[in-house]
Amino acid sequence: MTYNYSDLETVGELPAEPVLAAPEAEAAKKIEGHSPWRLAMDRLRRDRAAMIALGVIIIVLVAIFAPVFAVITGHGVYEQFRGPAPPIGLTPTGQPVGPTSAFLLGTDDQGRDIMVRIAYGARVSLFVGVVATGITVGIGLVVGLAAGFFGGIVDSVLARLMDWLLAIPFLLFAISLASVVLVHPIGPIGPGLPVVIIVLGVLTWATVGRLVRGQVLSIREKEYIEAARALGAGPWRIMFIDILPNLLAQLIVYATLLIPLTIVAEASLSFLGVGIPAPTADWGQMISAASSIYLYGPWWYLLFPSLALLITTLAFNIFGDSVRDAFDPRGDLFV
C-alpha cells in the first residue's frame, strides 16, 4: 500500500486499516465509556416495565399539582357540596353521591369531591414516602458506616442498638408514639406530618444500618482501602470518599424499594387513626372513614382511595424491581 503526499499529511490521524479498525475502535470506546452507572441507566431505559412504572410515577407526581384538579373541576378540597345549589354532593338523607358527571369518583360522607381529595392525598403519601425513606436511609447509612468502620466498642454499642430496634414490634410502637403526640405535642413534633415522618424515619433505619455495616466490614479489608490509608488518608476521607461510593448502588436500590413500604406504613397509621388528622386529605384516613359506612352502600368511597394507594405502591414496586435489576449484574434471574 502506498500513500500519496496529501495522505501523508493526515497519516497521523488515519488508522492503518480504516475499514476493519472502525468497529474495533468503536467497541473499545464503548467499553471505556460505560461506568456502572451508565450501564445501569442503559439497562433501566431498555426495561419496558420500568418505563411503564416510571410513567405511572409521573402521573402520581402530577398529583402533586393537585390544585389543578381543584381548578378544573371547580371543587375545593375542603368544599362540602350540601346543596341546594348544584352540584349536590349529598342525598337528601345526607348520604354520599355515587360517581356522576359532576363528581367523577363520587363524594364522601361530608359531600366533598373524592377525586380532588385523592389528588391531594397523593401529595401526603409521596411526601411522607420520600422524606421518611430519606431519613431512614440517612440515619442507617451514618450509623452503619460508623459501626462497620470504627469497630470495637462503637460497633458493639451500635450493633446492640440495631438488634434492639429490630426486635421492636414496629406498628405497635409507631401507634403508641403517634397517639401520645396526637394529644400532647412534644416540642415542635406535633400531630400529623411531623410525627408520622419521625416515627417512620426513626424506627426503621436498623435494617439499612445492618446492611451498610455488613458491606463496610467487607469493603474495609480491600486493598484499595489499605492503599488509601498508606497514602495518609484520614478516617473521614476513607469513609466518605473511598467506602461510600461503593455502597451507593445498593442504597439506591434499597431506598427505591423502601418508598412503597413507607407509603403503606403511613396509610396504615392514618387508617388506625393516629396518622394524618382530618380534614387533611389522606388516603389511609379516607379508607378509614369509608370503612365505617361502605357496607351501607357508598362502595366508591372505599374503592377509589384504595385503588389509588394500590396503584401507587405497585408502580413504585415495579420501578424498584427494575432499578434493582439494572444495578444487579445477575438481574435477569429475578422478576
Binding site: 434492639w164 414490634p169 405497635l172 394507594l309 394500590l310
Partner: protein, 322 residues
Amino acid sequence: MARFLIRRTLQGLFVLWLMTVTVFLIFFIGPGPASVARTLAGRQATPAQVAAVSHRLLLDQPVYVQYQHFIWLLLHGNLGYDYYHSQPVTSIIAAAFPITLSLLIGASILWLTIGVLTGILSAVKTRSVYDRTSTALALLFYSMPTFVLGFLLILGLYYEFAIHGINVFPAPGTWVPFSQNPAQWARALILPWITLALVSAATYTRLTRGSMLDVFGEDYIRTARSKGMSERRVIFKHNLRASLTPVVTQFGLDVGTLIGGAIITESVFNLPGLGYTAVQAIGQQDLPVVIGVVIVASAGVVIANVVVDIFYGVLDPRVRLN
C-alpha cells in the same frame, strides 16, 4: 448449643426489659396519667375526685415507683390490672390470644403452601407463561396494603353476596371459638386468613423462586444431574432443601411479628385479637394492657429469632452456632 441458648435468652430478656421501660416512658411523657384519671372520674368530677382516682391507680406516684411496682407484680407472674375495668391483664391477653393464634395458624399454613408451591413451579418453569403470571401476581399482592385487600374481599365476597341474600361468609367481626364449633370457626376466619395469606405469600413466592434459581446454578446440582438423578429428585432432595433456608428465616420472623397481633387484619375484620386489643388500649392510654401486649409481641420476635437460628443448623449442616 447450651451456651448459645443461655446467651440468647439473656439478650432477649434485656430487650424485653428495655421495651417495658420505653413504653413506660412514652406513657408518662405523654398525656397518659392525666387523661386516664380524667376519663375515669367522669365529666362532672371535681379536681379532688380526679386526684383520688389518680391516687387509687398509683398514677400520682413518680415513674420509678410505678415501674418498681410493675416489676414487683411481674416477678409474681402478674401483669397488673387494666385502668378502666380492673380486669387482670393476664386474663385480657388470655382471651385475645386464641383469636390471634387461630388467625395466624390458618393464614401461615395457607401462605407457606401458596408461596412455596408457586415459587417452586416458577423456578422450574422459568420464563414460561406460568412463571410470568405468577411473578406478576406476586408483585401485585406484595404491593397490596393489607387493609385494602381485606376491604376489597369484604366488599366483593361478603357484601355483594349478602345483599342478595346469600350468606357464604359471616359478617366481619364474627368469632366462634374452635372448641365450640370448628366448622363455624373456620368459616368466620376464611376471609381474614385469605387476606393475611395472600399479602404474605407473595414474599415467599419471590424468595423461593430466587433462591431455587440460585441453587440451580450450583455445581452440586450439575453433579447430581450428570449422575443421572431424576429431575424430581434434584428439585426436591437437592435444591429445595438448600433453598428453604431464607424461606425459613422469613417465616420465623413473620410468625414472630404476628404473634403480638395482626393489627391491621384484626382491625379490618373486627377480630378482638391481641392487635385489636392493643389498638383499643392505646386509644384509651390503658398502660397495663399496652405493656402486656408489647411484652407478648416482643417476646414473639425474640423467640422467633432464636428458633430461626437453631433451625438454620438443622437445615444447613454447614452452619455452626456459636
